[in-house]
Symmetry: C2
Subunit: 338 residues, 2 copies
């Protein structure tokens, strides 16, 4: 109707004109300010509606000097645990009024030097790093960073939220020990979490004065775990229990056991890690360790919000303790074997 420009997106000017108020008033309405009369507010709201106006977040960020956005850098969005992590982050951060932008390491790689750069340039108010930081990520200033998970290096000044994977490794191994097993192997894959889980396995085996025997794969696939397990079983025929460093690897272990003629859990106990939906399936009923990654996400988000409010607080570390999830793939050595 009143619009004179054919195509351009409407601005607050257009809205102001249509509602017969000033641009400032429109801005106040947009921000939900209480000091606007009901009459005017309604008029503005209606104009917004009929004009199809949307505030330009670029202009808002520029003028307001706030984006209310936190960036999340992730290794690979395919990762199972990332999904839980994101849920926890979403919950805590949205609660505090922040929106989330996700970027994986590959993503937009030909447009930004690295994901951090992208977030920095969009003036994210905080950053969650859920990956092993590369060298060029190490010098981030002026923006709070929380690192998620255990990594080889830590960005200076960052808070940390992580699963206690080492404790989880101990938990899994002790469970097998408690069932009477003595020949317990570990099938591990790549990545920081796997290293800690293996350390936990070593802890528990050493404490029990038993030899720790680990078979490592160089890629984190079910197929690699399958072949590693077949080889391991052939080399250690007296094995009665296997701890896989994640559920996907456990899937490979299960297949390898079957193909080696071993019944689970009668001949071989198997425990995984992650408590993925796969583990809960009727077909597998896999005993596993719940890393409680959603709680890690919550902790990370809370920690970030905290620091956003108090930049001086010394960096903290939040460790989330894992839980054992008992299902059907582990059994007592004596009962089943006689």
């Amino acid at each position: 109707m009143t619009s004179l420009r054919p195509d351009r997106q409407p601005t607050i000017y257009d809205v102001a004109e249509h509602a017969r108020v000033s641009k400032s008033l429109v801005s106040l309405v947009l921000q939900g300010s209480p000091k606007v009369s009901e009459t005017r507010r309604l008029a503005v709201l209606e104009s917004i509606e009929t004009l199809g106006y949307r505030r330009s977040s670029a202009a808002a960020a520029l003028a307001g000097n706030r984006t209310r956005t936190v960036g999340v850098v992730v290794e690979d969005y395919r990762n199972v645990w990332f999904t839980d992590l994101l849920d926890g982050l979403q919950e805590s951060l949205n609660e505090a009024g922040y929106r989330i932008a996700v970027s994986d390491l590959q993503q937009n790689s030909r447009l930004d030097k690295n994901p951090l750069d992208g977030f920095l340039s969009m003036r994210a108010e905080g950053i969650v790093v859920a990956t092993d930081p590369t060298a060029d990520m190490m010098n981030v200033h002026d923006v709070p960073v929380v690192m998620v998970g255990t990594h080889t290096r830590r960005i200076p000044g960052s808070d940390v939220a992580a699963n206690n994977d080492r404790a989880g490794g101990r938990l899994a191994t002790r469970h097998l020990l408690d069932l009477g097993h003595r020949h317990i192997g570990h099938i591990t894959t790549t990545g920081g979490a796997a290293i800690d889980r293996e350390a936990g396995y070593d802890d528990a085996m050493t404490a029990a004065r038993l030899p720790a025997q680990t078979a490592a794969t160089d890629v984190p696939t079910e197929d690699a775990a399958y072949h590693a397990t077949r080889a391991y079983l052939a080399a250690h025929p007296d094995t009665t229990a296997l701890f896989a460093s994640n559920d996907t690897a456990a899937l490979g272990v299960l297949a390898a056991a079957r193909d080696a003629g071993l019944r689970v859990p009668a001949d071989l106990s198997v425990i995984g890690y992650d408590n993925s939906s796969l583990a809960a399936s009727h077909l597998l009923q896999l005993t596993t360790v719940d890393a409680r990654s959603i709680d890690v996400g919550r902790a990370a988000g809370l920690s970030l919000v905290d620091r956003l409010h108090d930049a001086e607080r010394p960096p903290g570390v939040a460790l989330v303790e894992p839980r054992l999830v008992l299902r059907k793939t582990t059994a007592s050595l004596h009962v089943r074997r006689g």
Copy 2:
């Protein structure tokens, strides 16, 4: 050194001053313009480095009136096929110089009315809708939209890229028919894709003059598929083959078969859909249908780029044909049963 303001992020002004050039020159360097002398360019680059300058994407978007960003709206980032879809989108869109922003339906829900609104306000140059659009998404103007997958309604003027799920349903069913099966059941779940796959199943069964028997679940979980299958098998004991509308459901079918004392594929052939990593696992070796979602993503991205260059082109539909992936869970009726 020359910086007078203690904390604020440096701007092109700071860079210009430090490099002893004008702000415009800095801007040109930032955009990689060829009409800048090598000396100056280097000077600017170095100043940028030492000052730790990052261009404000908000200011750039505001002034340049371009964001080079396309938004992707997805139902739930947990979805398996979304992962492939995103790969295809990433590839085609990054190639063309666009970055991708992802938002799922839940995400930031307390900050924006809906994800589309967020993208509109950030002035995304294009939008990919990979979910069933809600009513308030139907009136999007002035920004190209491509819808991914088959949905109940279509945003006016949008292009479409989709898997040919109906053809896939036929493909799976025909495979079972070709193996000699006649009592073929279908376990289906919720969602648009499942509806098409079921239609394909119906097509094939009807063409073979056989009764189509479908068991539907109301939630898309392995557990629901498990129980549906147990009930189906009890009601139809002469069943020799089952087509599950996705691999997760197939997992439930497999468990149900085992618990009913049926061997796969000797007593029961099972085919899934999606060709997920689960299907490829050594444990399952599940025969399935590859929907080629990565190609759908590519098609969607290409279609968007096309339209970005030519807004007048009439809306098009890109259908990606599925492929059969033969593994070990289906077998000929006669050979195995004798």
